[in-house]
Point group: C2
Chain length 448, copies 2
């Protein structure tokens, strides 16, 4: 199934509006900005992600002949409009925050300036792309903060919302600081290190657990991990230690690198397993924990002093379980040079073409942001950079490893308050510039 490129990945109203713009001759330039209205209570910052895929979509965006035939059959659209769609390509300018940048409510992270027909038709899929990776990177960053340097592996494909989500969750998590993924296709596609050894079914397919362990180790080429919670975790730990000694005795190059515990009271089980392994002199066998983990469970396990070297995080990461969606929108801010806003209750927007400036302290730590109009210079680092001009990228894609490094610096620059996992607390200071406030009042006075 080809998912990414089709221009029919849009809402039907974008086409009915597009039809209207076309017939009315409304072809002026529009600026839309993509931002989050309000952060979930369980998020103190968000990480921008998905820009690379958004730009690829803009480059590849077109209505194919089968798609146009489908639209023609619907009977809602005139032929000249369908002809226009057949020739449509993205010709606009794009400003965006670098992937891995922390951002807050009302701050545009992507800004599209293009003929209104193009900018309108692109809304649904641009949101769909940027929303998801931003959602997952933001969740993953919390796990990274909680894990205090321990290894993190994405285990979430099976409960991600279809395969595309599984792949981009792996990318977003890696970008935010995860170390590996279990999703093989994500390894192939994005160069993310792969991790994984065996599941309970392998143990169960054998009549004896000790034989299963031995068989597994002997069938692998390199180091392996073993899963110890299928029947009785403590007994399994003894079996692992015995096998490790066997391998050492016969100078087998294969080694047991780690054991994984996937159920029960993980802190207690980890302590028992660590004790058994240490007692047998297997201090180098590491402990991996998994099974319903999220950033809070990781924080608690470490606070309880659980002897753990790595975490596998699955469902809670890949669906961002405590906040499975962000209030992310893409709004018209200017048309034909005039600033615009909606005033719907609870959903009013800030008009005009904007830039976000971040003030930083001596150690690069973020002190606060100001959302200003493009052209203002309130000081601080402007976060939106031009990435496309007239439909063309201004630079080659940034390699994922480079984005990941930048993101790591970004997490270190967060104020201490933003790095906390608990709900609520003091929020990061974001102010609107005076000129922006004045413009909002002026637009309201003019709109009938």
């Amino acid at each position: 199934m080809t998912c990414a490129a089709t221009a029919l990945l849009t809402d039907f109203y974008q086409l009915t509006m597009g039809h209207a713009y076309f017939k009315l001759g409304m072809s002026e330039t529009a600026t839309f900005e993509l931002f989050v209205r309000k952060l979930p209570g369980s998020r103190r910052f968000l990480l921008a992600a998905g820009l690379e895929q958004a730009l690829t979509y803009l480059e590849q965006w077109r209505f194919g002949s089968e798609e146009l035939e489908f639209l023609a059959r619907l009977g809602d659209f005139d032929e000249p409009f369908l002809d226009r769609l057949a020739r449509l390509r993205f010709t606009g300018d794009v400003y965006a925050m670098a992937e891995g940048t922390a951002f807050y409510a009302n701050e545009p992270i992507l800004r599209i300036t293009a003929p209104i027909l193009e900018a309108q038709l692109l809304e649904s899929r641009l949101l769909n792309i940027v929303h998801f990776q931003t959602l997952i990177a933001s969740k993953a960053a919390r796990c990274v903060l909680a894990a205090r340097g321990r290894r993190l592996v994405d285990f979430g494909l099976r409960r991600a919302h279809e395969a595309e989500a599984g792949l981009y969750a792996a990318r977003a998590a890696y970008l935010a600081g995860f170390h590996a993924t279990a999703t093989v296709e994500a390894g192939r596609r994005f160069g993310i290190p792969l991790s994984g050894t065996l599941a309970h079914s392998f143990i169960e397919a054998h009549d004896r657990e000790d034989v299963a362990f031995c068989n597994f180790v002997e069938s692998q080429r390199g180091t392996t991990s073993l899963l110890v919670d299928t029947y009785d975790t403590e007994r399994a730990a003894h079996r692992v230690a015995n096998l490790a000694h066997e391998l050492a005795k016969r100078a087998d190059p294969r080694r047991i690198e780690a054991v994984r515990i996937d159920s029960g009271d993980l802190a207690a089980q980890a302590r028992i397993v660590r004790g058994v392994l240490d007692e047998h002199g297997c201090r180098d066998i590491r402990i991996v924990l998994s099974g319903g983990l999220d950033e809070h469970a990781i924080e608690e396990l470490l606070a309880a002093g659980a002897p753990v070297d790595a975490f596998g995080v699955g469902t809670s990461l890949d669906v961002s379980a405590d906040a499975p969606a962000l209030d992310m929108v893409y709004k018209l801010q200017a048309y034909s040079g005039s600033p615009r806003r909606k005033r719907s209750p609870g959903k009013a927007t800030w008009p005009g073409v904007k830039q976000v400036f971040r003030r930083r302290g001596a150690g690069r730590e973020a002190l606060g942001d100001e959302i200003a109009l493009q052209g203002e210079d309130p000081g601080g680092e402007p976060l939106l950079e031009q990435v496309m001009s007239q439909g063309r990228r201004l630079a080659a894609p940034v390699p994922l490893a480079g984005i990941r490094e930048g993101c790591s610096r970004e997490l270190r620059s967060l104020p201490a308050d933003a790095r906390q996992l608990a709900e609520g607390g003091a929020s990061y200071p974001v102010r609107m510039s005076e000129a922006l406030c004045a413009l909002a009042a002026q637009v309201d006075a003019l709109t009938p």
Copy 2:
């Protein structure tokens, strides 16, 4: 991007286990069953969905040459194993519940019997496919029950977890009783009716709201809906009524079919708008509500007597916001003819190859289920039917409209208690057969 068919949509440990099975000569037949361990507190039943896509995946499943080259580069796998993967096709038997069937905890909805290498490698993507549509169909069914016959439209693409999720959410929602989707590609791909007219940006791109309304109606071919909450909803309702009179006066064939309210106190706004429209004699213009709706909001709006004809449901549907994942698993139940189970704390499974029997009352209402071993006949309707034999489908795919009708019957057959939206309450009776309980004890006695 091709999402659906690649065999690398799997977890790395499936391949390391597969490698081990291959090298150990473990090629016997295994039976895996896919089921949900425990329903979320906010679900009283689940609806099986995604079977059609799961079967297509099984039919198309293979390792392509680029994928095999990637695996070879990893260095973890022997060449004979990679050769085996190159020739691998699905050759197993599949039993499944029909899409749209209600089911409960521990009931297998899909059962795969195949050589263990095949059945193991398929785990991750089968779960990924069946989990997502089951998740969304189950959420959508609650909206359908809440809406009491009113029209429901899926608006969720923009915040679905990537495009594939948007498309399959549209399918799952339609299957469960939604009437239409806004996602154009879902209309093309699955034949789902499309719905949608205009967004706030169209209004804002005009200097005057009344001109925007008039322009929009005149640029469309047929009936239209207008969005009335951009600036002042009551005033907009007057403008819609005036425009409707204008159209009638000049005998324009175009008609305003509905207005949509997307923000504020929806019940209060709907009453005001209904009042204005009725006062102007526009009783045939319907009211569509949207904006953060879920089944509870729908139930409350109807309980409050809000004059509403249709609902647009977006984010909460497409991400199943209150329960964004199900505890769905795929577990080895038998290998080489022997029943198997794991006993991990809180995650123990029921061994053996199973069937689910549903007892029904005189009016077809479901009275209770029994999970029994295949071959038992405790009475009632067996819910798992064979759908594939030796890798081939036994019947052509069921058209989506037919599945939707069957699902509608299924929802009518739910006991009154299961149709409630509130958390908790008495649960639907599901028992394990005596033979199954005896088998579990027997397997435990044998497993070391």
